[in-house]
């Protein structure tokens, strides 16, 4: 047994350790437990006040110097536009925010819904990004670093709200395009984003996320007939900075009401936790198998030799 290659055992162990230090050991420890920043800002969108005027879309377009859209912002027919696959308009490489119109069964008045990045407390775009291109800032914004983005589009797969878009048309510098909460020019100075400021209906309130929750609950309490008793974004996927009040069930205006309450990363932690265990256990386990196999081989060879000796006698 002393003959068993200590060297091979070590080699296997070292190879495993190297693989480990290179690979995933850090990944497993790094899933942070964020509860959102205490001073994080947010926006409360009240769908009962939105009239679908697209002023917010125009303000966003101007603020971020985005290309002019095919139909001008005063053309409200686009609110009903659907693509070839029956899907409503969504954010894309030239629009950080869009408003869509929803016909409500049994009601004459349509409901409008604005969508943009919801700036999650524990964003799955951030946790899924392998170059750490996303940052959740203390102010509550989820911002993106175009300098390191490789273009794998994992964040688009991971976003439960279908928000990040990709500038597919660019060959040399395609990037993720998404609302940044007007972080650079406004949010850092404590100012509300352009869309919020531009809204003629005051459909959106900008403030500390905690205060917005209080305002939302207040509105629901004062007018329980007007609102559905739910603040969308309070708990969805761990909570979002942008939250919604609605007078109709949320699923009727394009919200996914089946989303989990836990952050998306909680689904992944099981796997991430298993990584260092495999790294630590596999080398010994498989080197053990190897030693067993070798031992048997040698025994067989020895038996064989014994037999031959026996015959020669």
């Amino acid at each position: 047994m002393g003959k068993i290659s200590r060297r091979k055992f070590l080699a296997a162990g070292v190879a495993g350790a190297v693989a480990g230090s290179i690979g995933g050991a850090r990944s497993a420890w790094a899933a942070p437990k964020l509860q959102g920043y205490p001073d994080g800002m947010g926006v409360l969108v009240d769908l009962t006040r939105c009239i679908g005027c697209r002023t917010c879309e125009a303000a966003c377009n101007a603020e971020h110097n985005l290309p002019a859209p095919q139909e001008p912002f005063d053309d409200l027919s686009v609110l009903e536009k659907e693509s070839h696959n029956g899907a409503k308009r969504r954010t894309d490489e030239s629009a950080y925010t869009v408003v869509n119109r929803y016909e409500i069964p049994g009601s004459d008045t349509p409901v409008f819904r604005k969508m943009q990045c919801n700036h999650c407390n524990e964003p799955s775009c951030l946790t899924s990004c392998f170059v750490n291109a996303y940052t959740k800032t203390g102010e509550g914004a989820v911002i993106y670093d175009p300098e390191v983005c490789v273009g794998c589009r994992m964040c688009m797969v991971a976003c439960p709200f279908y928000v990040p878009a990709y500038s597919y048309s660019s060959a040399l510098n395609p990037l993720i395009v998404k609302c940044n909460f007007c972080y650079d020019n406004r949010l850092v100075h404590g100012q509300p984003p352009a869309c919020v400021e531009a809204c003629p209906q005051e459909a959106m309130v900008f403030g500390h996320r905690e205060q917005l929750l209080a305002i939302g609950r207040e509105r629901i309490r004062y007018q329980p007939d007007k609102y559905v008793d739910h603040i969308y974004g309070e708990k969805e996927v761990g909570g979002t900075a942008w939250m919604y009040l609605s007078g109709v069930p949320f699923e009727q205006v394009g919200f996914d009401t089946t989303l989990q309450k836990e952050p998306i990363i909680s689904n992944v932690k099981g796997f991430l936790g298993m990584v260092p265990m495999v790294l630590a256990i596999w080398p010994a386990l498989f080197t053990g198998f190897h030693m067993l196999a070798k031992k048997r081989e040698r025994n067989a060879a020895a038996d064989c030799q014994d037999d031959k000796k026996g015959e020669s006698r």
Partner: protein
Amino acid sequence: MKRLVKNGTTPLDGPRPAPDKQPWTFKEKLLLGLSLRDYLSQAFRNPLNWVAAVILVVGLPVIVSRFIFGLGYVTHASNDYPWGLFLGFGLFCMVPLSASGFLLGTTVEVFGRHDYESIERLALLNGLLGYLFAVVYLLADLGQPWRLPYPMVVSWGPAAVLFLVGWHVATYLSVQMAEVSASFFEWVGWLAGKRFIRRIALGLTTAGIILSTLHQGALGALFTYAPGKVHPLWYSDEFQWVFFFCSSIPAGLCMVIVVSTIIKRTMGWRCDSNFLDNLDRLTIGLAKGASMGLVTYFTIKLIGLAHDNEWAYLATSWGGLYGMEMLMGVVVPIVLFAYSIRHNKVGLARFAALLTVLGIVLNRLNTALFTFNWNLYQELPHIGEIIIVVSIFTIYLLVYRFLLYRLPILYTWKEETVVEEAVVVIPSAEKPSETQSLGEVSA
């Protein structure tokens, strides 16, 4: 080539036969020891080359246009379906089918089943090329492929599963390069290199098992970032990575059966008797391994259904697709394998292996593409994507064949037979010297 061999040509498989002791030149080795004219005429006679040429004449300009005009030119540029066929097929299907390398490496090097040695090199090469071309597909898909090394050197996102996939695929690619390089060193005649690889083979193999377990699983874990988007029948919070890892085992083994079958049919001239005589027996052996993997996979898939209580979905049309995938790719192969192993029907086992491979491909496409956004809308891949996928696959096959023709994968390098035997016989004698030298080093 078949015709040439029939007419008495011996393909280059070792040093120049005596009395001429002169070594082959590199060019002669590339041309398999044929004259340039003979080589070209056999290449032109092969109808497969013409098919490949037609595919590439169409496909190469499309590949070039993808890089000149951007992804939007050859795909739907969908923001709802960020991943199309490039990753759906190229990454998610090629990687499990390339598990062969670590599986046969484990069988031979770790479990000591040296009777599988004649097929080990083929499995290693299949693994290496599969991963290499998975990366090629990835390069076609990445928005900025020139930034591929960023997760290694520029910016780390270590909490991400994709970070692990990236690092592991890169590391494992190097490990496989090293493993396959043994045959390359024989071919170029640098024996010291080959001996070195043999010495670290166990370490390489163990590293391969670890890396494979983790990144095969990680490909599944990627989808746990998109819980609502993948249809529940193909999704599990807890077990997704186990499903992917477990199914990669029959996938890798069956891929070896399928590839070796094609080789036996189309390039028997390149195989030596050691490969051909053992193949049927080894195929049954691989089939045993694959059927154990499939039974396990089937069991844990059922556990997955029960755990998340997804039985009701089976009655929907998605359930029909699921049922078809499981029946065609898992249940039928299990039955066929059982019968073929019992009655030693190698042909049937080969057919079952093909079904398994197709079943795994269907499973990965279903997870990544067909059932993705199941409650949104379904989108068929753009024709440009299909052309590029087929073209890259054609290049993969051509590279595969190029290497099989030349490197001692399917045959034993003649020069080596003497030395090779010595190495194989010695292991027990070789060990003491190794421990001794280790002792010296530590002393």
